[in-house]
């Protein structure tokens, strides 16, 4: 019996073991590889194998030879502004849908379409619409008197990052709308009625009843979306390649450029570690807030 019991106690761990081993096998190599090579000089264009150890030189190079801080700044602007705009735009749409007029279900099904398509395809859509001559958005903006820069919206350092953000806002606002709408529907009727009896209307109702009731859902989607924006790569690749200059370069794109375009494996490895540290801190802070009191 004792043997049976102990085997039963180990059973859950035996069942999660394949996933843990599988994932560890997948991530230990990249992490170890990056750690070792972040201290070695290695450019694939000049040598197929790593050269000597160089101490912390690669970490220094990350800041001196790549626009790491510019990329970090762009990434933060994109993540904060993108999440903020998508959340409130999505909330507005969710409130419209929550009136439950006829046809809401069909609207909901159509509305999610931008979120279903590949981010890279969303990039194609917007690159076409941003085109300097004959691009739909460029044309529309010119019609309403917006000063479109002569190099085009993607070619000007003042509009490049915002143009990437717009494509992302287009793709992911429906995500917020649909999730927040589901949250709004789950608020119990009696809470709303009690608030109305107490005289709550409009903005007050929203701030005191609606928002607190869906705060848990809201925090989780904000966390997920913020991190996805923080890892932004696909739209940058197809829209601007980080340009002009470094105006729209994100952390992920900077790492791609250094490692897989310039083939500076040593510097890229050092950068990988810096990014892993930043992301680990962010995720830990977020997950602690989002899953506080969560029942596992």
């Amino acid at each position: 019996m004792a043997g049976r019991l102990s085997s039963r106690r180990n059973l859950p761990y035996l069942l999660v073991l394949p996933s843990i081993l599988g994932l560890l096998a997948l991530i230990i190599y990249p992490i170890g590889f990056s750690l070792v090579n972040s201290f070695r000089q290695w450019n694939l264009q000049t040598s197929p194998v790593p050269l000597g150890f160089v101490g912390f030189l690669n970490y220094q190079m990350v800041f001196q030879t790549t626009p790491f801080l510019d990329s970090l700044r762009n990434t933060l602007i994109l993540s904060v502004a993108g999440t903020f705009i998508e959340f409130w735009f999505g909330m507005g749409i969710a409130l419209l849908l929550a009136t439950q007029l006829k046809g809401t279900n069909a609207v909901r099904a159509l509305l999610i379409m931008p979120t279903t398509i590949a981010p890279i395809v969303a990039g194609f859509l917007f690159r076409y619409m941003y085109y300097e001559k004959g691009g739909l958005l460029t044309w529309l903006l010119t019609q309403v008197g917006f000063p479109v820069p002569p190099q085009g919206l993607l070619g000007s350092s003042t509009t490049a990052l915002a143009s990437i953000a717009l494509a992302d806002i287009w793709q992911w606002t429906p995500f917020f709308a649909i999730v927040l709408y589901a949250g709004l529907l789950s608020i119990p009727e009696d809470i709303k009625e009690a608030a109305i009896v107490d005289g709550a209307t409009g903005l007050r109702m929203f701030a005191w009843i609606t928002l607190p009731s869906i705060s848990r859902t809201a925090i989780i989607v904000v966390m997920i979306r913020f991190m996805q924006l923080f890892n932004m790569f696909d739209l940058v690749l197809v829209l601007t390649r980080g340009g002009p200059g470094t105006a729209s370069r994100t952390l992920s794109y900077n790492l791609y450029q250094e490692g897989l375009v310039n083939y500076n494996i040593g510097v890229a490895a050092a950068m990988t570690w810096l990014i892993v540290i930043i992301v680990t801190i962010l995720i830990n802070v977020y997950a602690r807030v989002a899953f506080r009191g969560w029942e596992w």
Binding site: Y13, V107, M113, T116, I117, A118, V121, K133, T173, V221
Partner: protein, 275 residues
Amino acid sequence: MRMPLHRKVLIYLAILLVLIFFLGPIYWFWALSLRSPTSAFASPPEFFFEPTLNAFIYTFVNPGVNRPQLVSSLIVASGATLLNLPFSVTAAYALSRFRMRAKQFLMMWYISLLMAPPIVFLIPYFILMSSLKLRGTYPSMIIIAQTITIPFSIWLLKSFFDEVPIDIEEAAQVDGASWHQALTRITLPLALPGIIVTSMFAFVFTWNNVIFPLVLSNQSTATLPVGTLNYFATTGATWNFIAATAVVTMLPPMIIFLVLGRYIVRGLTFGAVKG
């Protein structure tokens, strides 16, 4: 509560504007795939034009430049979905059914992998797969996709297992069934819809992924998004071809999401919001 008519009209108007903003770009690109090259960049833009299927014929029928990429996309996305199931079903079942001291830690670990930037795994894999002579093969892409599909599926599947009442399983065990009989005969069939939903999401995520195949595929194993990107390297008016391949890339996820219906919220939030 009855709503005054003018308010109803205003809300419908707002919803109409929202739909135009979010569906307009998709319509505009579908239209591009049916345009002639001269209509593609007409200035001002042409809202009415004579449609042609030439772009689809060139990309998928004759000579069908992008047809092999459609096959590659299907192989990689299906392969990644199938490979992930044995790992995620067992783990999600355990995390849902048993008390484990490490549960919270494990769930946090999975979700942090899910939210880490994929590019940090990619460069080492590029070197590893190159030295193993595996770069350009389907397995290299299917395996690295597991860094996303396994943690995602565990989270989503756990939320489905949580909803299968544990009483039924316990009753079966009281009747003398072993835990794996209870699992395979009772819990798995009841959780099957959840497993199918999870597989559909895993398929879409891998289908839509571009960063792994961008670096790990070669000419004969390139997936659709990578093949479409290649058009940007060639000069000349290829936007119609880009649009035709992009339309074909968009369709499977769109259809799958229409089928998924009420599970969309849950899937996109990794099971954390039930919806």
